[in-house]
Amino acid sequence: MDQEFALLLFKIYEISLEVQMCKLVFITGGVRSGKSAFAECYAKQLHQQFERTYLYYIASGVAMDEEMSTRIKRHQEDRQGSAVVWNTIEIQADLGPAEAISPKQSVILWDCITTWLSNVLYKTEELDENGRMVEIEKYLGKLKKQLIQWTKDGGIVLLVSNEILDEPNSSYSEVNVYRQLLGELHQWIAHYSDEAYEMDYSKVKRWK
């Protein structure tokens, strides 16, 4: 989905008419549902509307093969083509790089949480089962703390994630662990978010 179409969606769903400041926005959708374009468009709009100095893009994708490189490149080109300047920060699993952000002057777009969580799973792969769950919970705890801190400090945060829970349980236990962790994280985000959208190809469903 291109930017123009995303803008059209904004008009149809009257999202831009809502002037009140939202702090945490949650956006999900299936693959190629246009969620990134929608989120970028919305982030830019909030950046302008609330006269923020910085527009941050948090990328979590790790280019492990050519397909992923191409995907990352396409997203980068989309952002370069826009009139506003994006500051890109890479967060693979550790949240250290997030310290560079001053939330009060910023709009922060994180695309996407799904990738971040899979990085956490890869990173903890070598540990034994119990130790691994403890470590994963630590990462999740830090993430939640960071998100709450950002919004407390006046940041406007947009989180993008994937819909992967509407299909049968996998025959791989690793996949089911991932699905459960992601589902529970999504529940947490949906609870704390001020706005929540689900993209379903040509339509946007606003849940909150």
Binding site: G30, E163, I164, L165, D166, E167, P168, N169, R179, Q180, L182, G183, E184, H186, Q187, I189, A190, H191, A196, E198, W207, K208
Partner: protein, 139 residues
């Protein structure tokens, strides 16, 4: 009969528990993967049934329509004795499964859910803990 539908790990059971905690005079009982015998309960009790995938797999040798019909009839009978809430995990929106049995499970699930939706008085979709009433007055 009432239906709560949503993807896996979306907080469907938690939603039902929270709702029932505020409004129930009898007891509520959760059943996963089985439809209980109706004689054991009082009229004001609520029976919540989840894991229809497992119930379907026990009848996977039958054809799709027969599976849905049989399960639906059992639920219908039970619902005449006690209040029934079905927790339906949506498994129909992913990639077509490679194995024949998994495809059949998914198809039978869809058939059953269609029947349940059309015959029940309320349907609520739960998306990460947020409810949306699709039919009737909600839970």
């Amino acid at each position: 009969m009432q239906i709560v539908i949503g993807g896996a790990y979306n907080g469907k059971r938690k939603f039902v528990k929270d709702r029932l905690a505020n409004q129930l005079s009898g007891n509520y009982y959760f059943f996963e993967g089985i439809i209980p015998n109706e004689t054991k309960f009082y009229k004001e009790d609520v029976i919540i049934i989840g894991d229809f995938e497992k119930i379907i797999l026990q009848k996977i040798h039958l054809d799709e329509e027969a599976i849905a019909e049989e399960i639906f009839n059992n639920l219908y009978r039970l619902n005449q004795q006690v209040q029934v809430i079905c927790i339906c995990t949506d498994i129909g929106r992913g990639i077509v499964p490679l194995l024949k049995e998994e495809r059949k499970l998914r198809d039978a699930c869809g058939r059953l859910y269609q029947k349940l939706f059309s015959e029940s008085e309320s349907v609520v979709r739960v998306w990460y803990g947020i409810p949306q009433v699709l039919k009737g007055g909600g839970l």
